[in-house]
């Protein structure tokens, strides 16, 4: 079986067919009063797989990301995650303590604005080390060594270990935020417009780095972006959202090269023109 989504919407697959999946989303809906945030979204994600979510602003992709990553309780639907030790868990039914633990160990969340995901008042090393410290590592030297190694992984000069991130450039901040998330070796990363607000050349370098990390670490990821170039480079599969609903999904190349839905066609065409 090559691509399950070609046969059935993932959410309709019986659990038995998804033993190896990591994340399983069914009928996920979030309403803001009467306004629709996202509606009836379902898909599954396998280890090492990158799912791109594209659409214009207001299409509901950020709401979806917040519901997936446990930051926002959905109005309806479920998000199941296959935990390392306790099998499948509905993350919105987990007690908050367990959900937070999951979020700071097995998951990563990369915010569009790195300032939302970093502590600007403490050193780069402390930023990377925080998850280890929260997880109970009580050896300063080990935390520091680990932080230094990750600084290298994200191509930041190791001499900056004790510097405050408030002096870092936008691209460095984003890479620092990624290192802060990866230090616990998560299996799943959520990214919201990871290249937003960066210069084109800086974007290219970051995308390159991300592609390498995802491949080398076998990360699964959900990446929300309005930038088709980002998903073309990083995502294996793609969901196109409009007015809160998924209008088209499939393998990235398939969707981008042969868009079926008029809205997707419009998106692709506008990129080509631009």
């Amino acid at each position: 079986m090559s691509a399950p989504e070609a046969l059935l919407p993932d959410a309709l697959l019986p659990d038995a067919l998804l033993p190896d999946a990591l994340l399983k989303v069914a009928a996920l809906t979030h309403l803001y009063g009467r306004r629709v945030g996202c509606r009836d979204v379902g898909f599954a994600l396998w280890p090492g797989e990158v799912m791109g979510v594209v659409g214009e602003s207001g299409s509901g992709k950020t709401t979806l990301l917040h519901c997936l990553s446990g930051m926002l309780a959905p109005s309806a639907g479920t998000v199941h995650y296959r935990t390392r030790t306790e099998g499948w868990q509905d993350i919105h039914r987990l007690p908050e303590a367990r959900r937070r633990l999951l979020m700071r160990t097995d998951w990563g969340i990369v915010h569009q604005n790195p300032r939302d995901g970093l502590r600007l008042g403490v050193s780069a090393g402390a930023n990377i080390g925080e998850r280890l410290l929260a997880g109970g590592v009580r050896h300063y030297g080990r935390v520091r060594a680990e932080a230094e190694a990750w600084l290298g992984e994200v191509e930041i000069d190791r001499a900056r270990l004790d510097d405050l991130p408030s002096r870092f450039s936008g691209g460095m901040l984003q890479r620092l935020q990624i290192a802060r998330n990866l230090v616990t070796r998560p299996r799943l990363i959520f990214m919201d417009e990871p290249t937003g607000g960066l210069d084109v050349s800086v974007q290219a370098r970051l995308l390159d780095l991300l592609r390498g990390l995802v491949r080398d670490l076998g990360l699964a990821a959900v990446i929300v972006t309005h930038d088709l170039a980002v998903v073309r480079l990083l995502a294996h599969r793609l969901m196109v959202m409009k007015e809160g609903a998924v209008v088209e999904s499939g393998l990235t190349d398939q969707v981008l090269d042969d868009p079926r839905h008029p809205y997707t066609q419009l998106l692709v065409a506008s990129v080509l023109q631009g």
Partner: protein, 289 residues
Amino acid sequence: MTAAAPQPGLAGYNFAYLDEQTKRMIRRAILKAVAIPGYQVPFASREMPLSYGWGTGGVQLTAALIGPDDVLKVIDQGADDTTNAVSIRKFFATTTGVATTTRTAAATLIQTRHRIPETPLADGQIMVFQVPIPEPLRWLERREVESRRMHALEDYGVMYVKLYEDIVRHGKIATAYDYPVMVNQRYVMAPSPIPKFDNPKLDRSPALMLFGAGREKRIYALPPYTAVKSLDFEDHPFEVQSWSQACALCGATDSYLDEIITDDRGGRMFVCSDTDHCRQRTTAEGNSR
């Protein structure tokens, strides 16, 4: 109803100033605090006839606990004769008529600000600490809603980030008093502004330790023999202050010392902050001679 029989104390006021309803409310909070060591129990702190910040939390605890047979000791900065200690001791002497003492060993109830006596405490004694800021996370997260959630979820990463950052900046953990502790492997707790020198005395103490913050309306407790660990790293272990001198009065080398400036040319001497401890030692020396 309180007994109509005449009671020792101040005319027009109940024994130990507080009415019995209020005492019961405070005792309930104390029981809850003892049941969950290190957890800050909100309580309906009353306005007291002394200023908030001057020991109203400790005074309410003492008032709720004290009985006619108690022997009370009050210290501030380790000393029985500092103005605030005198003032609070007099408050209870007037409103209860109970016996007071300066001797640590003779007291059943010790109200303190900023110190734990050097004389080891015994089973059956109660220490009452005056607490200005009960929330150890306050300087890292000023929002009560969020800091209470962090305690509930045992989410203390940011506390260790602060310690890590101290070592980055200063080469050591740069907290000298009100040094945070982990209680019973569950709650991070502020021990009140005692010097970290006194932290080890909290660990598995045979005495009941009660902490009262009047203005912030919180009570918390360490039941006897509770495990209390000062936060640290394996490779940067917690350590207490030490002095190169001995006490100029009693010669003690193992007590917390106050620095006294003796002139304006850099002259200084060091003496015990615990006046009772110092006096016991000098008296014992005099007797032995």
